[in-house]
Amino acid sequence: MNAVIIAVVQVVLFVFLAPVLIGVIRQVRATIEGRAGVGIWQPWRDVRKLLAKNPVRATDSSWMLRAGPVALVVSSLLLCVLLPLVGTIPFALVPSDLFVIVSVMLIGVVALALVGLDGGTAFGGMGSSRHMTVAALVEPTLLLSIYAFSIPAGTSTLSVIVETRLLSPEVIISPVSVLALVALSIAIMAETARLPIDNPGTHLEVTMLHEAMILEASGRDLAWLEVGSWLKLAALLGLVGNLAVPWGVLTDFSALGLAVGVVSITVKVLVLGVVLSVGEIFLAKVRLFQVPELLAGSFALAFLAVTASYLVA
């Protein structure tokens, strides 16, 4: 029952938080670049505007254009249900197993790639192809960093991993954990199409990954695609936040603890959003064919983390 309450709270919180996070990221960037910016509520206004439009669809597009956005949103919402964001009380039969979480995330990745192909244009195919290539190459880093996190806790269940780090904070600053966290962060940047892998602020054809896939979508199709991607970013930043700074997360159910959990995860996500935004100012997008090198580097970090935790610890 407690697990259900936490899941509901997480979903509702992140549905409200995700657009705000995007607004914060854009506003911070605008402020630092010396622009006025549009304020942190603009993503909300965008979604409202898109939902009240008649979507335009091509004659050749199939049901995938309708189902793909739903699949993406559902996969992102499932992430919000399964990840220990506000609290670490998991469902008994579907614990927050990291391998399952990655697979749920992949449903969204596949849905987005198929939407990109469904438009039947060169741009959509290009975005889809690049997106899947990056997703394929990021997979080893992702799973190996999960492996590294699972070793101190003895399980790949995320709520147990977070609790272990809460109980023995020395794990967090151990070199193994730092390596794994860096590797995981690079993987998440790639998965959520942020700099330096993709440039979220551009519509320039040679640099696009994510944007190219959603060019043909409009109205509510586009709105759900955007919301799904934002939710994914917010949930994964929440995961990084709870792995790096586990304090504040709810472990024993209480109303006060729930409130603390909600506030702390909100603060963590927004602070990480600001850090991300500031960091992105200093980064340029790397060439598409240098992305594998970056990912190979993060893979090396993750591999080092796993073997070190066996051979050193």
Partner: protein, 670 residues
């Protein structure tokens, strides 16, 4: 006579009847009549296998005049499981072939070979001595070779595929024969039950020989070279049976060796199998991901899947050697689940490819597109099977891969202590290999499904496609349902499968919740049905809001919403399978060694204007060009030399026999 024995005898009888029917039936009736008999054979095999898997004993004993142990067909639980796998694929394929075969595929020869192939595949896992095992293996190979050659008159590539297949399958057969011979010499009998206590040296020799032999049957690198030639050239229902069922015989052989015949091998056996499996998985999926030919793609992906099965098997052997029993058991069950799920999704995928060929005559993805609207049932079945192949939840492939990953991450440690340096390097590497394989498989099947079924048709054949006949649809739907059922109810299935290899199955795998699976030894739980319930719950508000919004703001349909600028965007300008994989070809340039040919034709007046650009890209199999070609060239040169000795003159041959006779007489008299 026991039920198992009766089932086997019935299969043999039905097989003979089917062969007779194929020989005598009128061409118009042949496909239906023999197809129904083949379905019956597979159903009987299914029941027999189920019985054997649940623990029924008994079998068929065939006494022979030779001074060796009698032939005994008495499947144990593991054999029963593989009979079940093979016959389930057999049912799908037989149903499908009744309406898919026409022309040379439906010839008398092809229909005679079909029951022979099916019965041969059933008998291999039933055999409990090496002679009947080898006999059944050859019956199976014979049947499949004839089926492969069905189309040889119309396409030259079929004949070349036939030669490759015969050569490679006989090479595998030679290795298996040699391996069993070593075992028989060491143990003094051909029956599998005698083969327990073997000295290390013959055990090592036999292990290497049998690994090579069964590795060849299971399409592992570097013995996989027949796969990308044979599976695409065979009629699609035969490719489905070969990839879905026949390849599993190689897996069965691997399990037979490592679980039953030589269970307590040294650590390097496990590592050797892991290396071969990992290399096959990576190489197979890499080739599949850059392939534009749908059936070549599926063929290479078979190599990948079998590689994963052997990786799991090797990990289980390695971990058992270090007494990490729980993880070892989980890895072994994962290997079996991978094999079961591969049988389901790969036969569906090949049957789906057959449906596409039936409807369009094309298997080149670059000329397909938009088939989803034209062939909805095929699209749905192919889509579900693709999800299975890409290991996406709630399909069978996902559960199997999840279990393998769980066993690997828990394998490095036992009660908090590191088990060995080898394991703590092997496990992360194996996880990395599986991860990259899974990522590339995702790309491969997004490409296969997205390019073939979504977007706009890239050729008139694709634009004029129509749905296939009902019987073909039925077997596609059945296959897709298998994939979903295995993925939604993994608990009971895994528990059943665990019984076939583990002495204490409930310690390895248990069923929890609504068909969920739990690994008590390593404390991991997964319930796909709960996952479905959760996703339905979060999907309801989204879908309700979409319906509300669709009623208020209906969509508009236009020719091209944006299309990169409008009218220029003809279907030819879409991304094709080749362009989809282009970034990957560049990234893995060193491994794939693609050859690219770009011809630019300029306009006569100016070199700055281009009239036509022609790009051709070929990715060849590195193993074929670097390993097999040199050997084949050597043979060819030898053949040219030998041609002078054997020039066709009867006098010369008679004198050779005379000289040979003389030499024999001299040797005997010495």
């Amino acid at each position: 006579m026991s039920g198992i024995g009766a089932g086997l005898l019935l299969q043999l009888g039905l097989g003979a009847l089917a062969v007779l029917t194929a020989l005598t039936a009128a061409p118009s009736l042949r496909s239906r009549a023999v197809g129904i008999l083949c379905t019956l054979i597979a159903v009987i095999g299914f029941l027999t296998g189920l019985g054997a898997m649940l623990g029924a004993t008994g079998g068929l004993r065939i006494s022979i005049a030779l001074p060796i142990d009698p032939l005994l067909l008495a499947p144990d639980r593991l054999g029963g499981l593989f009979m079940l796998i093979v016959s389930s694929v057999g049912i799908l394929v037989s149903l499908y072939s009744m309406s898919s075969t026409h022309g040379p595929d439906a010839s008398r020869t092809a229909w005679v070979a079909m029951p022979v192939f099916l019965v041969g595949m059933q008998l291999v896992p039933a055999a409990t001595d090496s002679v009947s095992f080898l006999l059944a293996l050859e019956i199976m190979t014979l049947g499949s070779t004839v089926l492969l050659l069905a189309d040889h008159a119309s396409r030259a590539t079929v004949a070349s595929a036939g030669i490759w297949y015969s050569a490679m399958s006989q090479l595998s057969f030679f290795f298996i024969l040699a391996g069993f011979a070593v075992l028989a010499a060491a143990s003094g009998g051909t029956s599998f039950t005698n083969l327990q206590e073997i000295e290390p040296v013959p055990a090592n020799v036999a292990f290497v020989l049998l690994l090579l032999g069964f590795g060849g049957k299971a399409e592992l690198v570097p013995l996989h070279v027949w796969v990308p030639r044979v599976l695409p050239e065979a009629p699609s229902h035969v490719s489905a049976a070969m990839s879905g069922a026949m390849v599993k015989i190689g897996v069965y052989g691997g399990l037979l060796v490592s679980v039953r015949l030589l269970p307590d091998g040294p650590a390097w056996w496990g590592i050797a199998i892991m290396v071969v499996g990992g290399a096959s998985a990576l190489y197979g999926i890499l080739q599949a991901s850059v392939s534009s030919d749908l059936k070549v793609l599926l063929a290479y992906s078979t190599t990948e899947n079998m590689g994963l099965v052997f990786l799991a098997l090797g990990a289980s052997m390695l971990l058992r050697g270090y007494d990490a029993q729980a993880a070892a058991d989980a890895a072994l069950v994962a290997a079996l689940l991978l094999a079961v799920s591969h049988a389901a999704f790969k036969s569906t995928l090949f049957l789906g490819a057959g449906a596409i060929i039936h409807a369009t005559g094309e298997r080149n993805l670059d000329r397909l597109g938009g088939l989803g609207a034209r062939m909805p049932v095929t699209a749905a079945a192919f889509g579900i099977a693709s999800l299975g192949a890409a290991a996406i939840p709630i399909t069978s492939g996902f559960v199997a891969e999840w279990m393998l990953l769980q066993s690997l991450i828990h394998g490095g440690r036992l009660d908090g202590a590191v088990v060995s340096v080898a394991a703590s390097v092997a496990m992360p590497l194996a996880v990395a290999v599986i991860a990259l394989t899974a990522g590339l498989a995702l790309l491969t099947f997004v490409k296969a499904y997205g390019i073939a079924f979504l977007a706009r048709p890239r050729s008139t054949e694709a634009a004029e496609a129509h749905e296939v006949p009902p019987l073909m649809q039925l077997s596609l739907v059945l296959g897709a349902l298998f994939v979903l059922a295995l993925g939604l109810l993994p608990g009971p299935i895994a528990a059943l499968v665990a019984q076939t290899v583990s002495s204490n199955p409930s310690a390895a795998v248990q069923s929890v919740g609504l068909g969920g699976v739990s690994l008590p030894g390593i404390g991991a739980v997964l319930d796909p049905l709960m996952l479905v319930v959760l996703s339905v719950l979060v999907a309801i508000p989204v879908i309700v809001s979409i319906i509300v919004s669709a009623l208020r703001y209906p969509h508009r349909t236009v020719e091209l919403p944006w299309g990169g600028g409008g009218s220029r965007a003809r279907p030819r300008m879409q991304y094709t399978a080749t362009s989809y994989a282009e970034p990957l070809v560049r990234v893995f340039d060193d491994v794939l060694k693609p050859s690219r040919d770009v011809q630019v034709t300029h306009v006569a007046e100016s070199r700055y204007l281009v009239e036509r650009v022609r790009v051709e890209q070929r990715v060849s199999d590195v193993f074929e060009t670097r390993l097999y070609r040199p050997v084949l060239n050597l043979f060819q040169r030898y053949g040219i030399v030998v041609r002078h000795i054997a020039n066709g003159s009867i006098h010369r041959y008679l004198s050779y026999s005379f000289v040979a006779l003389l030499i024999v007489l001299i040797v005997v008299s010495l």
